[in-house]
């Protein structure tokens, strides 16, 4: 078991303009489950493959424990990896797949069998040990891939979107099992996903990447409540935060309605955009920010109402906000409603950096 450190780690693919991973600094403590999340092309998989040794570093270093592994071959890094498509050896049985790494380490046969059995017990794979991968379901294959990683007892687990090939229900189940297993084994884990819900539910900390640059790395709660910038604010949370550009004539205005900030330590004239979560707003008849209901998503325990704000100007861009309402909700599409803030509002400057989180009111 070990910590993992990225120090200014950089990877350039030839023929591209910007690095796939740009000067990444990241400290992952021993036993932590860190999730790398971002949209496609954000460099999250590349960052993981750099740690695996499958992508060379074009700059910086990567440490596992206090050993600099930047120039160490993947097979000598003491890591185990779970691939998105599982990469099970098709001609080997489940047991052979799981024991392959031990066989390479010249572990005696009976010890090997013992370890494979142990892992198979943990993952409920005992009945399938003699099957070939092609005779397994997707979920079973995923567990074999996990088993192959855990029998090795490595310093670090690397997981590259390990759940993305499972159907939605199984994905949620396996997600919990995986998190439990990681907790139990206490092995440092770096987990890549594009799914922010997966990231939030599994990660002790979540590192958000965009265009090869680390945007923010923090606990799920902090990412949610104090996003570093517009990108993180919009990426984390489902449905996404309402992040809206504002006009500013000394005070930020949204569709002509002033966004009056409580004293949040930010100069109102510098506010270029504001953001608020669906649950930080409510619909109220008298509220000054008016709009038309576009759709109502009733999930049973909560209702998300999509409101198109009336800008009073047919040529300007449409502004949509999502508001979370408690059920039952009586409103219908095309009803005219007002939006009122009840919770925190984030302000962003011209660079998209969050400048403050404060309470605020829409004032006509």
């Amino acid at each position: 078991m070990a910590s993992v450190t990225y120090e200014q780690a950089t990877r350039f693919y030839s023929g591209t303009e910007r690095p796939a991973v740009d000067s990444l600094d990241l400290d992952i403590v021993d036993g932590e489950l860190l999730v790398l999340v971002g949209p496609s092309g954000s460099g999250k998989s590349t960052a993981l493959r750099m740690l695996a040794g499958l992508e060379p570093l074009d700059g910086g270093d990567i440490m596992i424990g206090d050993r600099n592994v930047s120039a160490v071959r993947p097979r000598d890094r003491d890591i185990a990896m779970v691939f998105q498509n599982y990469a099970l050896y098709p001609q080997m049985t489940v047991a052979e797949n799981m024991g392959f790494a031990l066989k390479q380490q010249k572990v005696p046969k009976d010890q090997r069998r013992e370890k494979v059995l142990e892992a198979a017990k943990i993952l409920d794979l005992e009945p399938y040990l003699d099957r070939k991968p092609k005779n397994l379901s997707g979920g079973q294959r995923q567990r074999v891939a996990m088993g192959r990683a855990i029998v090795r007892d490595p310093a670090v687990f690397l997981m590259d979107e390990p759940l993305s090939n499972l159907d939605a229900k199984l994905r949620v189940q396996t997600r919990t099992q995986l998190a439990e297993l990681q907790q139990r084994l206490g092995v440092t884990t770096v987990y890549v996903t594009h799914d922010q819900v997966e990231a939030m539910t599994m990660g002790h900390r979540v590192a958000v990447l965009k265009d090869g640059i680390l945007q923010q790395c923090d606990t799920p709660g902090t990412l949610y409540h104090s996003p570093a910038n517009r990108f993180v604010a919009g990426f984390i949370g489902s449905p996404a935060m309402n992040v809206l550009d504002v006009d500013n004539d000394g005070a930020p205005r949204l569709a002509g309605v002033e966004v009056r900030l409580a004293d949040g330590g930010v100069e109102p004239a510098t506010v270029e955009a504001v953001g608020f979560r669906p649950e930080a707003a409510t619909l109220a008849d008298g509220a000054p920010l008016r709009g038309r209901i576009r759709t109502v998503e009733d999930l049973g325990s909560e209702v998300f109402v999509h409101v198109q704000i009336a800008t009073g100007d047919a040529t300007s861009e449409q502004v949509d906000v999502v508001v979370k309402m408690p059920p039952p909700f009586a409103g219908q599409p095309d009803d005219t409603v007002g939006v009122q803030l009840t919770g925190e509002l984030h302000t962003f400057d011209a660079e998209g950096t969050r400048t403050a989180t404060t309470s605020a009111q829409f004032v006509a």
Partner: protein, 283 residues
């Protein structure tokens, strides 16, 4: 005519006609082989007379061509030579081509396109244009009339083809598997043995078979460089051409015997080979 667009083969009579044409072409191709087999069971006199299918079959011609005559190239010697040369060159081709194909597909080296082009460019020169230097080299190196010279030449002849074929088969191996094996601690050789070879097996078999066929049938080098000793089956076949008397039936029998190993090997490997070739063709 309806305004509907009807493709070729969608009308029954068109289909029937095309089928008939296919059978006709197939028969056209097979007829010489059929005639060779028929002739091989005839008496020389019958084989050289007007073509006929009514004859009493005999195995005498097979006895003639397999009988050993002192001082002449015998059947068993020629087959022995051929088998040794063909197997040795094919084994060497695979031993060299598998690592080369790996380096051109799984983790491609820089300039892999140039390397591939170099390989195939060696096939651009007509053999006959290179035979004189090859012959002189062989003479200077004391390789004339040896099996070794044929092993070397057949290896050189088949290597480019084998590298090209194997490369396309290796590209079918999912890269994650190789990466998983690397992370699992397998050495380069271990990755090749436990991941790549099992998946690319049919392709390797197809490649080997093609090398065997090309080497087995090779005549030009064999006759130019091995006029006296270490002669192979194709030379033995032509050895049955005689200036005295008729030889069509004997030649047919010899040709049938020479074809059999390849036909049998092809038959056995048919399924794998078609899969292998198709796999390579799609990519």
């Amino acid at each position: 005519m309806s305004s509907e667009v009807v493709g070729v083969g969608e009308r029954r009579w068109v289909n029937g006609l095309l089928g008939l044409a296919a059978w006709f072409v197939g028969a056209l191709y097979f007829f010489p082989i059929f005639w060779m087999i028929a002739n091989s069971f005839k008496e020389e006199a019958v084989a050289n007379a007007d073509p006929t299918l009514s004859f009493s079959p005999t195995l005498d011609r097979y006895r003639d061509v397999t009988g050993e005559t002192v001082g002449l190239l015998g059947f068993s010697e020629a087959f022995g030579n051929s088998i040794r040369v063909v197997l040795a060159s094919t084994v060497i081709v695979l031993v060299l081509a598998i690592p080369a194909a790996y380096a051109l597909s799984i983790y491609p080296i820089k300039k892999w396109r140039d390397v591939l082009f170099f390989f195939i460019s060696t096939k651009f020169l007509p053999l006959v244009a290179s035979i004189l230097p090859i012959w002189i080299l062989a003479r200077e190196l004391d390789l004339l009339n040896t099996q070794r010279v044929l092993v070397i030449l057949y290896t050189a002849m088949n290597l480019p083809l084998a590298v090209w074929m194997l490369r396309s088969f290796f590209q079918e191996v999912p890269k994650e598997l190789v990466e998983a094996a690397e992370i699992d601690g397998a050495s380069l050789f271990g990755q090749l043995r436990s991941v790549i070879l099992p998946i690319a097996g049919p392709g390797i078999a197809a490649t080997a078979l093609l090398c065997v066929i090309f080497a087995w049938n090779e005549y030009f080098f064999a006759v130019q460089l091995n006029a006296a000793d270490a002669q192979t089956v194709p030379i033995w076949v032509t050895g049955n051409v005689s200036t005295r008397g008729n030889f069509i039936a004997k030649l047919s029998a010899a040709s049938v015997l020479a074809s059999l190993p390849v036909v049998i090997a092809g038959w056995v490997a048919q399924k794998r080979m078609i899969r292998g070739l198709a796999m390579g063709a799609i990519k």
